[in-house]
Symmetry: C2
Subunit: 456 residues, 2 copies
């Protein structure tokens, strides 16, 4: 066996202990808030049957699926005449029946339909697992990354939407990130399109209005004209473009404006109710009605939610909404759901940029005992066991080697406390406790270590 220079596939990553501890800080925070609100975990296999995945993400998405070669003789059942270079597409579906999960939504839909007889609805589930996409890797875009999805399906109640706003509020509150939660409703967008007589142009309208901040109202109107809206339609949409003020003011204007449309009033009423429920739940983040918010428009049927970090110019860190036909493709129509998804990698970048990773997230180990060998080693081992027994993560440096090397180990592993038991200390049943952050060393009776470590 020859020596290889080791590497990993492009677009994938190894995570070192320090990265893992930071990532776990994010995942644990998200998970604890999901569970606070009664959501329960599920997991699905990394590999799904390709017929579960194909056709669910558009033509482009199909190309980005990682396909797994059938095991055993993968060419069995293939005729020589099928085995030609220009038959690659057809061939690939014959030699691979499985693919790697592309997102958590389709596997969730598949799960719900497959297990519908065992599920008590409403079904509140969360799922934190990696997904794989054969995208061209670039800064911030990977071929393997985690998604953190939380959804409730089988309930139309708006309390669910309000709770999801609270979940976002709590997650980012615990992470220490100030966020603005943007809220919209597909029914309002439908109302606007109806109002101006262009139900077919919802997407054009929202995409254009989205540019308001960047290009100003004049250019927005020009672009709306380019996209096929007549002068009358553009005139009627002006109150929407010029919509300003507090959520209450906006909602009051919209309520008036959309009064005679089919869906508009329902959309306004839903937003009012959601905001009112979120208030009862004591939400602290700013929730902002934003009519330009349209993400996944063809998919969402009610609330649309997006969360942005207030102090960092970065895309959304969380988003989602209500959908009405998630499970239809697998034969279970008419199940309404609402959910949001957190982007762990982007949250990591935000925390990093805002310098919010504390030393507490650097290591899970609190204490290291220096190793002098002999009787001192044995006493250190004994003391370390005692610290562990009361829940303090503790290690003993395994080798009796140079002190400098031992301290440099503690340092690079971000261990906050080092305990030194030399011969003199052992005899007097004392120890020296070093605070690695400040460099301060204190000699104390053995029994006092615990007080110091817990107190400081």
């Amino acid at each position: 066996m020859s020596t290889q220079k080791p590497s990993i596939p492009k677009g994938t990553r190894d995570f070192s202990p320090i990265e893992m501890n930071r990532r776990n800080f994010i995942f644990n925070t998200i998970r604890s808030v999901f569970e606070q609100f009664g959501y329960q975990p599920i997991e699905t296999p990394a590999m799904e049957n390709l017929n579960t995945l194909l056709g669910k993400y558009g033509e482009e998405g199909d190309k980005l699926l990682f396909k797994v070669l059938n095991s055993g003789d993968f060419l069995s059942g293939i005729t020589e005449s099928e085995l030609t270079r220009d038959n690659a597409a057809a061939l690939s579906s014959k030699i691979s029946e499985k693919g790697l999960r592309y997102d958590l939504t389709v596997p969730f839909a598949r799960y719900v339909v497959q297990h519908r007889n065992d599920i008590t609805f409403p079904f509140k589930r969360y799922q934190i697992q990696p997904v794989w996409r054969a995208d061209r890797p670039q800064k911030g875009r990977y071929r393997e990354f985690y998604q953190c999805d939380v959804d409730v399906i089988g309930s139309d109640a708006l309390i669910n939407e309000a709770e999801l706003l609270l979940i976002a509020d709590q997650v980012f509150g615990k992470l220490g990130i100030d966020v603005i939660i943007k809220l919209n409703n597909r029914k309002i967008l439908s109302g606007i399109a109806e109002l101006i007589g262009h139900a077919d142009k919802i997407t054009d309208i929202t995409v254009t209005i989205d540019k308001l901040d960047k290009i100003g109202p004049k250019k927005v109107n020009e672009e709306l004209a380019e996209r096929g809206l007549g002068a009358e339609a553009i005139a009627r949409i002006q109150p929407v473009i010029n919509l300003q003020g507090s959520n209450d003011e906006k909602l009051s204007t919209l309520s008036e404006l959309l009064r005679d449309t089919t869906d508009g009033p329902k959309g306004v009423a839903e937003i009012i109710e959601i905001l009112s429920l979120a208030k009862i739940m004591n939400i602290s983040s700013t929730v902002e009605l934003d009519l330009t918010l349209a993400r996944g428009l063809n998919y969402y049927t009610g609330a649309i939610i997006e969360v942005k970090a207030a102090d960092v110019a970065m895309g959304s860190v969380c988003g989602g909404g209500r959908y009405d036909n998630l499970t239809g493709i697998f034969g279970l129509p008419g199940v309404s759901g609402v959910g949001i998804s957190f982007g762990a990698d982007r949250i990591y970048d935000v925390l990093n940029e805002l310098n919010l990773f504390t030393t507490a997230t650097a290591s899970t180990t609190r204490v290291m005992f220096v190793n002098f060998g002999g009787q001192e080693e044995k006493l250190s081992i004994e003391m370390a066991s005692k610290l562990r027994a009361i829940g303090i993560n503790t290690e003993v440096y395994p080798d009796n080697t140079k002190l400098k090397k031992q301290f440099s180990y503690a340092d690079s592993n971000r261990i906050p406390w080092v305990v030194i038991i030399g011969e003199q200390e052992r005899i007097e049943y004392r120890c020296i406790l070093k605070n690695m952050a400040t460099g301060q060393q204190d000699s104390m009776p053995m029994g006092e270590i615990i007080n110091h470590i817990i107190k400081v």
Copy 2:
């Protein structure tokens, strides 16, 4: 898009909330003990380059690798003449460059070599991730399953071995499973082989001695003869076959017996030292010297460790040992390591069989508020927020529907407490608290819920 009957690839599994909560109980226990001893997490990608994986698991292992089809035009670079049915093996390595992780050991070795300049040795890492094997699925054998590995590399000290015994002791102690930890040492096995003049027959000898319990000493001696040991060799090995008594007695016999062999005395001394260190650390499980323990013999160079549940007839739930050349294949020779691996699926089965999954592991949700709509709903939402704020996972049933349906939801989701706030209760600022396990209902002032839930 036609309706599909959804399914998942054979040998893979979905995990429902109740299964997830039980599995998380296992993983969290393992993780917390790993961290107690100063081990830090890493993660590696699901896909590795195939040249990292191939040739590491033997010919049989190579066949069990899941290979990932190259993305894009996977046939580009393949000539028509290569594209023939009888060229399947060569073809597969040209159309797939990546494979799914088969275990955590080879990716760990790859990681260490790839990042050796960033790692401070000794490197204490743990890794809890799924692996994939294209094995024929059967009861208890899956194509996707989790491994939980903990290893330290770059340290020869026997304190590491002792700590690993303690890790096993603590994990199973916390899980409530009585275990027997079996300990052996490759150097003792080498000594025995040397003693009887058959250094080449270590494997034959240990495999045969392993059957002692089942077939008795007479048949063992017959089989040793069949496997090519002469009468003199068999005579010399009798003290080993008849080895009995406490660890101390066995060690004393072995010490005498192997006195003149090259490796034997070192193996005995190592076991004595490991047992002594484990005692200082206050180990509570039985540790048993077992000369028939040989798992992965060609791999281990020192201690060999295996853990079995005491009260269930099941294979090992944990095992490992010391190895001396994990990273050699990737160009970094001479790095010694020691580690053990926990089998989560088998631990799950043991807990299940022993009825050790408590209701506490069934759900992370503690309280559900019944939903009567209107003012009662709003008050319930407010109270639920207060419970969450003090760390009690709480949900409000989202819809104002039949009480029976709401209770059956709480029941099937194993939520231990249900709070009922009807009109009368709202007016009097009281509530009814129902203990779902006992069925008992108590009316109380609103402020007292917390005491009851925490107390009971």
